[in-house]
C-alpha cells in the first residue's frame, strides 16, 4: 500500500509538472540558500581562524600606547599617533631569562613604506625592520638564501629579504641573491626570498614586504630609536597568561608606571582576537542561516498552499476514491506523501545546488568549501518535516471529505 501511495503521489505530481516544479522551487531556493550561507559562514570562520593561527598560537604582541580599560579598543599607536615608548632597554629586559622565564624569543619591529628600486624598476613597498629571530617566531621560511644573523642586526648591515611578490616585480625570473636593491636611495644586498604567504591576518600582504635588520631600518631608513611592535614568542600556549604578566611587570617597571590604567603599551594575544572573531563569525553564520531559514519557511507555506489548491481541485477524485473503498488513512497518506515527495525532492535538488553554490562562493572567497554532512542531514530532515507539517493540514482536509459531498462537488 505504501509503495502504491508513492506511485500515486508521483503520478499526480507528474500530471502537473510545471506546478510541481514551481512549488518545489520555493524549497529548492530555501535549501540552497541555507546550505550556501551556512557554508560561507563556516568557510569564512575557518579562514579567519586559520589566519590567526598562522601567526602562531603562543605569541604576544606589545604595541606602543595604552588602550585604556577595554580589551579590544584600539591602542593610541593604531590611531596614527606616534608613541615612542618601546625602546631598546625594554627589549633587553624582556630578553632577560631571570626577569621573564616564560619568554622564548623577543623580536622588535619597525615599519615604513619606501620606494624600492632595482635597475630601472621602481616600486613602493612596505619595509619592515626585524631581528634575526623573526623567521622562527613568525614561521617564515625562505625559498632562497638565508636569514640575516645577530651580527647583521648588531652591525647595521644593509641586507634585505624580499617577499615573493616584490621579488617577482623587481627581478622576474632572475636570481636576486647577492644583487643590490635601493631602498630610499640606500643600497641593500638581497640575502633571501621568503615563501609566498598570501594576505595574512590584519590585511597585511606579507609577500609584498621587504625585511631588513631592525637596527638598520631604525638608523638608516627611519631615523628613530623606538619600535613599532614587539613580537614575543612564549614557551608554550599554556604559559601565555604568565608571560603576559611578566611583560607587563617589566615594561611598567622600565617605564615607571604604577597605575595599570596609565600603561603606555598594550599587550595583545592573538588567541583573544581569535575567540572574538570566531564569536562574530558564528553569530554571522546563525544570522545568515536564519534569513535563509525564512525563505525555506516561505517555500513550505507555498507547498501547503498548492496542496490545498490540489485538494480542492481533486475533490471529485477524492470522493470517487472514497466511494470505491479508500479509507481515511489512504487519502491522508496519498496527499501527505505528495507533499513530502515535493519537499524531499526539492530538498535533494537544493542540497545539490547548495553544494555547487558553496564551492563557487568558496572559490570567490578563497577559502575551502565546508559543506558538512550535518548541514546536509539537517536540510534533509527539515525538508521531510516541512512536508509533513505543511502537508498534514491539506491531507487531513482531504481525508475528512464525505464521499457524496465530494462527488457532488463541481
Amino acid at each position: 500500500m505504501f509503495f502504491q501511495s508513492i506511485k500515486i503521489a508521483a503520478r499526480a505530481l507528474l500530471l502537473n509538472k510545471t506546478r510541481s516544479f514551481l512549488t518545489m522551487l520555493g524549497i529548492i531556493i530555501g535549501i540552497t540558500a541555507v546550505i550556501v550561507l551556512i557554508s560561507a559562514g563556516q568557510g569564512a570562520q575557518e579562514l579567519i581562524v586559520n589566519q590567526v593561527k598562522g601567526i602562531g598560537s603562543n605569541l604576544l604582541f606589545v604595541i606602543p600606547g595604552g588602550s585604556g580599560k577595554s580589551q579590544f579598543s584600539a591602542p593610541a599607536s593604531a590611531q596614527g599617533i606616534i608613541i615612542t615608548s618601546l625602546v631598546d632597554s625594554d627589549i633587553k629586559s624582556l630578553r632577560n631569562k631571570l626577569l621573564a622565564p616564560d619568554i622564548e624569543y623577543v623580536s622588535p619591529e619597525v615599519r615604513g613604506q619606501y620606494t624600492v628600486s632595482y635597475n630601472n624598476v621602481d616600486q613602493i613597498a612596505p619595509v619592515v625592520g626585524e631581528d634575526e629571530n623573526f623567521g622562527v617566531v613568525r614561521n617564515i621560511n625562505l625559498t632562497a638564501g638565508n636569514w640575516f644573523t645577530k651580527s647583521d642586526v648588531d652591525g647595521l648591515t644593509q641586507v634585505a629579504i624580499l617577499g615573493s611578490t616584490i621579488k617577482e616585480d623587481l627581478f622576474g625570473e632572475q636570481d636576486p641573491i647577492g644583487q643590490l636593491v635601493k631602498i630610499k636611495q640606500v643600497s641593500f644586498r638581497v640575502v633571501g626570498v621568503s615563501e609566498p604567504k598570501g594576505v595574512g591576518a590584519f590585511g597585511v600582504d606579507q609577500d609584498t614586504q621587504i625585511i631588513v635588520p631592525v637596527s638598520t631600518a631604525q638608523k638608516l631608513l627611519l631615523g628613530i630609536n623606538h619600535y613599532n611592535l614587539i613580537s614575543i614568542q612564549v614557551k608554550d600556549a599554556d604559559s601565555i597568561p604568565l608571560a603576559k604578566e611578566e611583560v607587563e611587570r617589566i615594561l611598567r617597571y622600565n617605564h615607571k608606571i604604577s597605575d595599570p590604567q596609565k600603561d603606555d603599551f598594550t599587550v595583545r594575544n592573538p588567541q583573544d582576537a581569535l575567540s572574538l572573531l570566531s564569536n562574530i563569525t558564528s553569530v554571522l553564520t546563525i544570522f545568515l542561516g536564519a534569513i535563509a531559514g525564512i525563505s525555506l519557511l516561505v517555500g513550505g507555506i507555498g507547498i501547503m498552499n498548492i496542496m490545498l489548491v490540489s485538494v480542492t481541485e481533486r475533490t471529485r477524485e477524492i470522493g470517487l476514491r472514497k466511494a470505491i473503498g479508500a479509507k481515511r488513512k489512504d487519502i491522508l497518506l496519498q496527499f501527505l506523501i505528495e507533499a513530502v515527495f515535493l519537499t524531499v525532492l526539492g530538498g535533494v535538488i537544493g542540497i545539490f545546488l547548495g553544494y555547487l553554490g558553496s564551492v563557487g562562493i568558496a572559490l570567490i572567497g578563497k577559502w575551502t568549501p565546508v559543506v558538512s554532512i550535518g548541514s546536509i542531514l539537517l536540510a534533509f530532515g527539515v525538508c521531510t518535516l516541512f512536508g509533513l507539517i505543511f502537508g498534514i493540514y491539506p491531507a487531513n482536509k482531504a481525508s475528512k471529505l464525505s464521499p457524496i459531498e465530494a462527488l457532488r462537488y463541481e
Partner: protein, 232 residues
C-alpha cells in the same frame, strides 16, 4: 433470505435552524439476491438519498439496515469503506473516471484499496473486466479519448472488478445519448442475467423498463413497489 433489508430508515437533512428536510421517512425495503431494481421518482423525492444510504455512501439517522444479514448502521466509516470496496460496485452519472489515467488503470483502481492484491494479477483481472464490456482494445486510452458510452462501460468494468454482491448505478444513462444508453442497459441486463444484483436510480421510463422491479418514491416515501410487467 434478503440481500438487503431496511427497517424504518429515516434520513433528515439539517439546513440550519428551523429548516429540516426529511429526505427519507421510515423506509421499509427488502431486496433479494439476483434482483434488478429501478428506483424512480421526481427530483427531491429522496431517490438519490435512498441510493446513497443503501450503497453505504451515507448513513441513516435512524432505523435498521441489514446487509447480508449483518446490521450495518453501527459500522464505522472505515468499515463502511471496506464494504464499499469488497461487496458493492458503483456506477455514476458523470462516470467519475480518473483523468489522464488509462482505462485499464481506472478499472484496476478499486483493487488498490483491497488489502490482498498484487500488481500483475490486478492487471489481469482488470483486463478481464474490460473484456466483459467489450473495451479490451481501448485499455490504454485515457477517458478524454473515449466516448461517453465507452467511459460509462469502463466505469461498469471498474464496479465489477472486486466481484461485488451488488452494483449501484445513480442515473447511469443521464449523460448518454439513446444509443449509448441502450448499450449500457444491455450490459446491465446481461450482468443481471448471470446472477448479479443491480439497483439503479433513473427518471427515464424507457431505462427503468429494463428492470425486473420498479420502486417509486415521492417526498421520502415509497408510493409503489411492483414487478415490471413490460420488461424489455
Amino acid at each position: 433470505m434478503h440481500l438487503i433489508r431496511m427497517e424504518k430508515i429515516k434520513k433528515i437533512y439539517n439546513n440550519g435552524e428551523d429548516n429540516q428536510v426529511v429526505a427519507l421517512k421510515d423506509i421499509d425495503l427488502g431486496i433479494e439476491q439476483g434482483d434488478f431494481v429501478a428506483i424512480m421518482g421526481p427530483s427531491g423525492s429522496g431517490k438519490s438519498t435512498l441510493m446513497h444510504v443503501i450503497g453505504f455512501l451515507d448513513k441513516a439517522d435512524s432505523g435498521n439496515y441489514f446487509f447480508e444479514d449483518k446490521n450495518v448502521v453501527t459500522l464505522t466509516d472505515d468499515e463502511l469503506a471496506e464494504i464499499r470496496n469488497k461487496r458493492v460496485g458503483f456506477v455514476f452519472q458523470a462516470f467519475n473516471l480518473l483523468p489522464r489515467t488509462s482505462a485499464l488503470d481506472n478499472v484496476a483502481l478499486p483493487m488498490l484499496y483491497a488489502a490482498n492484491s498484487d500488481k500483475s494479477s490486478a492487471e489481469q483481472r482488470a483486463l478481464e473486466m474490460l473484456k466483459q464490456v467489450d473495451l479490451e482494445s481501448r485499455k490504454d486510452h485515457h477517458p478524454s479519448e473515449l466516448s461517453g458510452g465507452q467511459q460509462q462501460r469502463v466505469a461498469i468494468a471498474r464496479a465489477l472488478v472486486n466481484d461485488p454482491a451488488v452494483i449501484f448505478a445513480d442515473e447511469p444513462t443521464g449523460n448518454l445519448d439513446t444509443k449509448s444508453s441502450e448499450e449500457v442497459m444491455r450490459i446491465f441486463k446481461r450482468l443481471n442475467d448471470s446472477g448479479r444484483t443491480l439497483i439503479f436510480v433513473t427518471h427515464e421510463e424507457d431505462v427503468a423498463a429494463y428492470a425486473k422491479r420498479i420502486i417509486r418514491l415521492k417526498d421520502g416515501v415509497i408510493i409503489s413497489d411492483e414487478l415490471n410487467r413490460n420488461r424489455i
